[in-house]
Subunit: 148 residues, 6 copies
């Protein structure tokens, strides 16, 4: 979770009644943080933003959106490579479930080129990532890489 | 106005209370159709869609959006070249007016590669553009190019 | 193998005397399906298309093309990310073997954003992929993920 | 007409029985050269290549292709911006006429970034364009800009 | 001339002994400002930056670079569409003159999506462009559009 | 290391007093060659180029650049996908250390589409990669894949 994600959430709450931040739970691919840790970090960083709920889900995003009776999925759009993948995802989600629309929002331009992959690499090499991610995430990355 | 634009409007009305289709009036650049003709065509093609209003405006889009007390500007996103220009526009509009957010929607994939420039060129060469634009627009283009 | 691949094969047979669908055999990277399973699925899905032969090969594609006395390699071109990789492959193949030309064909636009990676992910999560791949492939993915 | 176009023609004749180089005649947009001059230059530069015919046409390309009983339209694919436009054109042509397929060929990589717009600009400024276009085209540009 | 150009100049002076800002003079295409006005604006905005010289030139950029005994041409690189055009220009310049290398620098990310075309359009519509261009340029645009 | 990298180094030495080729040492990801083997190959292939030093480093590139009192990081820019990643890296490096600028150089156009991933794949399949990489690298790849 980078400052770019946080920025997109902040913008989304101004446009919609409720925003649910949905963290995909993946049995097979264990990332640097567990799903629970991710949810916890997101709850911490969004605790001051009204009308935001953080939750995890299993299975397909569109099914979860249906269950929540959401009208739209919101995604941040950064750069070109993003665009391709986001377009594919959105069109496939539309094929899977016609009633769920995908909406794209732009993060602040200084977050446009934030890549969570590069942030992780900088943290791994001992660099300071506080310009890129919320404080609690920076701290969490620091712990992981010091212990790991 | 292509079927892609119409598709984006249809999707937008499902997400927002009211959708205003805003046609920029440009003194200096006279297109194939006048602003009034554009507004008329848009009114015809959207007359069956609830909660849509078609109108023209002068000056900056963000100022018009402020006047309407709109919360967001909605744009259709098609392909890569689009993306660049749309991104520039959206970031500049944000600089001009922080309170107006730009939201992007994808048209149906069969409209993804519709280009109004190529549609116009096909019409000019006598081709049938009914697969690309609403019927009244096709007719209007036919008239223009037969008379012009 | 998605509907996009099938669409490209169908278009290719109209242009050339014989089309060989060549499945690369890779010792090192075992995908979801074995090479033999892939060949079998392709044979099933292309059995109604005349002048198509499905076969597997080892080593470099250009060497296999030479052995078949093929005049061209045909590739489907979808979106931008594709384009980069396809261009690199085609130029490198040309360097390796001047006499083999690479030709690109566009799949139907509704297949433009089909990504086999996302299809696999949807299948893994229990989603219905019948809109994206031929029936026998959907069934095969279902079996794999139910058993796996 | 650049060396890139010539390179694509040379590659196409190896793959197909006959290649027709079709120059669009445009009443409204008079380029640097007339349609007749273009045809003449193309005839000169392709005179040594077997099975090539140069001709001009009016109206839609797909209609001309139908009249010629062509099976495919061949286009050179260079870089990304190309790709977008070429994709749009090819999909629109397919909509206009299902039976005509568009095939893409890559020019030699040293021609990949050749832009006829930049070549023209270099010629206008008195630069030597012989590295970019066939000799007769370079000469013709030189004459145009010296007289013009 | 946008804040992005100014940012690139400021970065370039830190890397090279002398930076020459070269304004192309074009007889045929008269922009909003004359070449002399452009040079004057650039002189004003760069007057505080050491080792910068502003000058105009005729003909090919590489010839002018040779005359100045420059070792490299420096260009700002913003977004994708830029990249294509810049690549074409740089490769063609290299073909015209092997000894001149083109170097690319990135402007600050908040200038990444600045488009002089959109800035001009905003100014034409009476918008405030002071966030996008240096003060004297904003003033100059205001005058042009008030009088014009 | 491909011919493209070598080409960029050759261009860089003409512009700067000293060029340091810095090989990142990565504990965690063991590539086909060890860091030491990479350094050795680079020393062999650059031994004839004046003012080039090859060395390895740990940690963040910007910290290493600071230690060397370098004024700029030089990167080769090839194609679009490159561009995105390079832009992200350069902007992040700038955030980490303001005083280090990233400069981009274009390799010769015939190296534009060289991908080290595809080169490695060709070598693995027994293909001849001498057109793509320096002789000693080709030999080294051949040995690796014959023994491996």
């Amino acid at each position: 979770m980078t400052n770019g994600h946080l920025d997109v959430i902040t913008r989304a709450v101004k446009l919609f009644d409720e925003v649910v931040v949905a963290v995909a739970h993946n049995d097979q691919k264990q990332g640097l943080l567990t799903t629970e840790e991710r949810v916890e970090l997101l709850k911490n960083t969004t605790s001051q933003i009204p009308n935001v709920r953080v939750t995890q889900f299993d299975g397909l995003l569109v099914n979860f959106a249906l269950k929540l009776e959401a009208t739209a999925v919101i995604r941040g759009l950064r750069a070109i490579s993003d665009f391709e993948f986001e377009f594919q995802m959105a069109l496939m989600n539309r094929k899977l479930e016609q009633s769920i629309e995908t909406l794209f929002l732009m993060p602040k331009e200084e977050y446009t080129y934030l890549s969570s992959r590069i942030v992780k690499e900088i943290a791994r090499l001992g660099g300071n990532v506080e310009a890129f991610v919320p404080g609690v995430v920076a701290e969490s990355l620091r712990e992981k890489f010091t212990l790991g």
